[in-house]
């Protein structure tokens, strides 16, 4: 446990001194802020129109117009940002040779992996925390359904953790950070878009594709539905990629 914390602290220190983090976090907040602003402005426009249109007023709902799309936007931005934060985790250590130190210290590969994964999770949480003021602003002006907000955040955290797990894996494959980021982004995009082929595939394959799609499992969370199946999907996804990472790292014993 001591070692996990040691790795975690080191990773956080390096992350918080790296320009990549500040650039990514800055862009993340600017874009999420812009999306939030445009959704809120659209909602206020609709509210004004609803004054003359009782039918519209009946169906106008802050959650549907602002909150739900906001979590969808977060997911898209994380898809772009997280590969940039995970790319250095192992690739940088391989390139600089520090991996040799790490692998010869009396610490298990899984403890190092846990430390790196948790450190990136902490970075993700700190970035998401930066979006919380948007919700608080909304609360001051309207009646926000906090249950849905919290379940939406839970979904985004799980989705982000899944992105990170796959990103850690691609980072362990290569010593080139750009290659790691490209593979990770490409794989995530594919797993995201695979659900779109549902309509084209037959009913059997279509439903499989829908279940495999990484983004499909976020929808219920943004509606305030916390379904065990979705949680299990993300947890299995995360452990699957972390497990592959460990196996790949251990291949150094026989590959040389």
């Amino acid at each position: 446990m001591n070692a996990v914390l040691g790795v975690l602290r080191k990773e956080m220190r390096i992350t918080y001194t790296s320009p990549i983090f500040y650039a990514a976090a800055f862009i993340f907040l600017v874009i999420t802020g812009y999306f939030f602003y445009s959704a809120t402005a659209y909602f206020s426009l609709l509210s004004m129109q609803a004054g003359q249109n009782p039918f519209l007023a009946e169906n106008l709902n802050l959650t549907n117009v602002v909150v739900k799309p906001f979590f969808g936007d977060l997911a898209v931005i994380l898809l772009l940002m997280l590969p940039l934060l995970t790319m250095r985790l192992y690739a940088e250590e391989k390139k600089s040779g520090t991996i040799e130190l790490l692998f010869t210290y009396p610490v298990s590969d899984s403890a190092v992996l846990a430390g790196k994964f948790m450190a990136t999770m902490a970075v993700l949480l700190s970035m998401l925390l930066g979006t919380l003021p948007y919700m608080i602003i909304l609360e001051t002006m309207a009646d926000l359904e906090w249950g849905i907000v919290l379940s939406g955040y839970l979904g985004v955290v799980l989705l982000g953790a899944a992105f990170i797990a796959l990103g850690v894996f691609t980072s362990s494959l290569t010593e080139n950070q750009i290659v790691a980021a490209v593979i990770s982004f490409g794989a995530l995009l594919l797993l995201w878009a695979v659900g779109w082929a549902k309509a084209l595939a037959g009913p059997g394959l279509g439903s499989i594709l829908e279940h495999v799609s990484i983004i499909g499992h976020l929808d219920p969370f943004t509606q305030g539905l916390i379904d065990t199946r979705d949680i299990v999907f993300y947890v299995v996804f995360i452990f699957f990629w972390l497990f592959l990472t460990l196996r790949f790292l251990q291949s150094r014993y026989w590959r040389g």
Binding site: S96, G97, T104, Y105
Partner: protein, 313 residues
Amino acid sequence: MIHAEELTKYYGTKPAIQDVSLSIDKGRIVGLLGPNGAGKTTILRILTCYMQPTAGRVTVDGLDCRTQSLEVRKRIGFLPEMVPLYSDLTIEKFLSFSGTIKGLNGSRLKSDMDRVIDECGLEEHRKRLIKYLSKGLKQRVGIAQALLGDPPLLILDEPTTGLDPAQIIDVRNLIRDLGGERTVLLSTHILPEVSQLCERVIILHKGRVRKEDAPGNLAREIQKGLRTILSVDGPGEEIRQKLSGIEGVSEVQDSSKPGEYMVLSSGDESVRPRMARMVVESGWDLQEMRSSELSLEEVFVHLVTEEGGEDVS
């Protein structure tokens, strides 16, 4: 302390080391000497549990590197080749990370950090970022992290490569001071380094152990006498004849430059004044006279051909 039996490691189908057996006693400073690509780093990586051998078995302090890897690693302080360090951390933060991962915490971590910082002379630099340090200081930081936790075995992979002469002397002195109770295994391709530091040398070539001896014996055996280079103005043929006639001279060769002669002689030092006297008495000008030591390349050519000869016989 280290006991390795018939280690073999293949990279793909290419063997990096073959049937390497080593036995290193506690408290010794031992050198692994070999040209680049001889398998030094491979052996050190196996000993530090970074990788496993294709065949063979290693124990460190009686613990098996394959099955008790974490226990073995606790007993080893390792300085990898090229000294990889986290350049974005300060010396202090980096050592604190290394110490934590080695299982130190609280006051033990603090006192151990102070000790290694003091031992490696890093006190005034402890708050500096590693990326701004000179190569020599980085080397010291690398050695400092290896010393954390006071491991009984230090493994240093080419600890003086890339340093300037003053830094090399510095690091060598540091390594010598670190000996004593500890067992130190260092790899190098620099012959004098081994003779200055090590009590025993293991010579590797093409992945096999070629020789294992005390450095003094080794040098004596390889050198087999003195080599002197003379630069003389005068008739070449006559000079060569007269030099060959001097007592103790076994061979006279032309050197790479015109007017220079390489003289091989027995270990007797008095042969050099005799040569000088002969040149002067013959009325020639003696421009220069210097002793020439075998370069590492020559040592290896020598060893390899000799070993090859033995193999045939």
